[in-house]
Symmetry: C2
Subunit: 345 residues, 2 copies
């Protein structure tokens, strides 16, 4: 059986065959999906605000196949997208998946990738309603568009932060970046001596942060349960500093962030020190944590103060006070939005 | 001025700078675009059925930069997508644009590409509401998702064709394919002798069909004006034969197509003969014409019979009669769905 399965190639199946194969695995979780994949377009019945966001992941830029399991990659590619809808305080409902696949990928590799995509869709109750599969000359490109729904008075933009609002983050930061550092180090070791086994045992948490992140659906649900509406929100994909800049720029405000408040997991902290990277820098510039950064009116502080998933890290100021990190001894350092510049490589 | 402009590189601008630059050029044509690019997601106010379709175009697979002007490529990449929404008898309203750009592309090249995208959006009144721009290791990848609107009782699927319905195509077919053949021939000539100028003067129509196709918005409007609802519809992207197979498979029917009815422009016909390709084959298997193929109930024949943009090319039969081309002397040849298999190259 197994041999027979391996004998089928992407070339044998062709584009339509591959699409058929994948379409058969797709389940529907959303009642308003009136027409899924298989026609010129999908149809969604809507009486609400539709939210749309789109991201492209490129091999060699966003992921390194030498240490990224395909199933994790598929999972992460969905998370990266739906996280943007949660960051609007809305619910992701549908995605389209476009894949560009070079000939080095086998049918089984695509199945694995899709298994991860399907798993994320199942967990977050998101319907795959269409997409495109094409060959490409090199590597793998994943382009996903996510569609979500939100009530008009619940949608949160980046632009609503006001002076004296609290700046809040979920979870902890810098882990995904340190996970990437570990994977890259072990790859170098392996390249120099291919008999070496990678040492990954002590890095479970940060490796999972890098390879299989989750989106903060729970936070959006808890906002609803506790009747909280953030004044502004963004997801942390490029790094805390970069996202703070986005909120401050969109909201036309300044900000003070307290270094000692930034939540950093002990594994992230220890690994960062081992790599001679200031853990605060990992948290500020690392990116890919997919936590939510938001601002709330001070009157809502009581509602969140006991939630272990949420940490107040600063407050919003007038624009002319700038964007500053408050370090030990109350030293003020202007923050720099480093983020990622893909065109720098 | 010009020198100064040329000195700015993609690397200088960075991802956010490039997104800012493009975002400034984006205009809104749709009243229900409540939030465009610049946040985690865009917001569309909807009280209707939302249609979604997505396509990916990859350099070296879908387009050859040696003969494709970037502005035309941008234009075409929008057309390819919105054509899928028209093929549902609906109206495209919004797109997201994801670009993967390798370092060989300059800022001016991206501006040109975007000029074409913006031009198509202006012509078809489609809003760009988001997207992603990233570097990639090789070439150029364009992944667009289009969103449209349609009334529940107007949306046309592939699956509604019934026995005795008429099979109808818009425009003429095979032109885009012959345009591609001419471009590829002239590229070969030029590779052998770079002093040769390409001979393209006599091929204006088919070159435009290949390089700058249009989508059949006019047909959808005329359906509305004449109170016509096709029973099934698809756009002709992979070739007439392939699309006929899609309709017949989805509708569980057979079909007879009359060879002498297939509309072929005289320039397509002549060029096809010069290339020793049977013009019927160009029309059946060529693809990329972005015409609409649809079926209508015979009672609607009176409404379309005088429309020069529309040609009846056959009729729907029971499934067990198969899918046949009726040639000269009433010979029946089973049609083959050739289409494109990108994984064959």
């Amino acid at each position: 059986m197994n041999e027979e399965k391996e004998a089928v190639t992407l070339k044998d199946l062709g584009e339509f065959g591959l699409i058929d194969r994948i379409t058969k695995k797709i389940k529907s979780y959303q009642k308003n999906t009136k027409l899924g994949p298989g026609d010129d377009a999908a149809v969604i019945k809507s009486q609400n605000n539709i939210l749309v966001s789109s991201d492209m992941l490129v091999e060699g830029v966003h992921f390194d196949m030498s240490f990224t399991p395909l199933k994790h990659l598929g999972y992460k590619s969905v998370i990266v997208n739906i996280s943007d809808i949660y960051a609007m305080n809305a619910i992701p409902t549908h995605i389209t998946v476009n894949l560009g696949i070079s000939s080095k990928y086998t049918l089984e590799a695509i199945d694995e990738l899709y298994d991860g995509i399907l798993l994320a869709c199942k967990k977050y109750k998101v319907d795959i309603i269409g997409g495109d599969i094409t060959s490409c000359l090199n590597g793998l490109t994943i382009s996903i568009t996510v569609i979500g729904e939100g009530n008009e008075n619940e949608i949160v933009r980046r632009s609503g932060a006001k002076e004296n609002d609290l700046l809040v983050t979920t979870g902890d930061l810098g882990g995904a970046y340190m996970g990437l550092n570990v994977l890259q180090r072990e790859k170098e070791v392996w390249k120099n001596n291919q008999n070496m086994q990678p040492e990954l045992d002590n890095f479970n948490y940060i490796l999972e942060r890098q390879l299989k992140p989750e989106a903060r659906k729970d936070i959006i649900e808890s906002f609803k349960d506790n009747n909280i509406k953030p004044t502004s929100m963004i997801d942390i994909s490029d790094g805390l500093a970069s996202e703070i800049f986005h909120i401050c720029k969109s909201s036309n405000v300044g900000c003070q962030v307290y270094e000692d408040k930034i939540p950093i997991d002990s594994e992230t902290y220890k690994t960062s020190m081992d790599f001679n990277i200031n853990p605060t820098i990992s948290a500020l510039n690392g990116g890919e944590d997919y936590e939510l950064l938001f601002t709330i009116n001070q009157k809502d502080y009581e509602k969140i103060k006991n939630d272990p998933k949420i940490t107040v890290i600063g407050h919003i100021t007038k624009k002319d006070q700038g964007i500053n990190l408050v370090g030990k001894g109350n030293t003020l350092t202007p923050l720099k939005a480093q983020g990622w510049n893909h065109f720098n490589s």
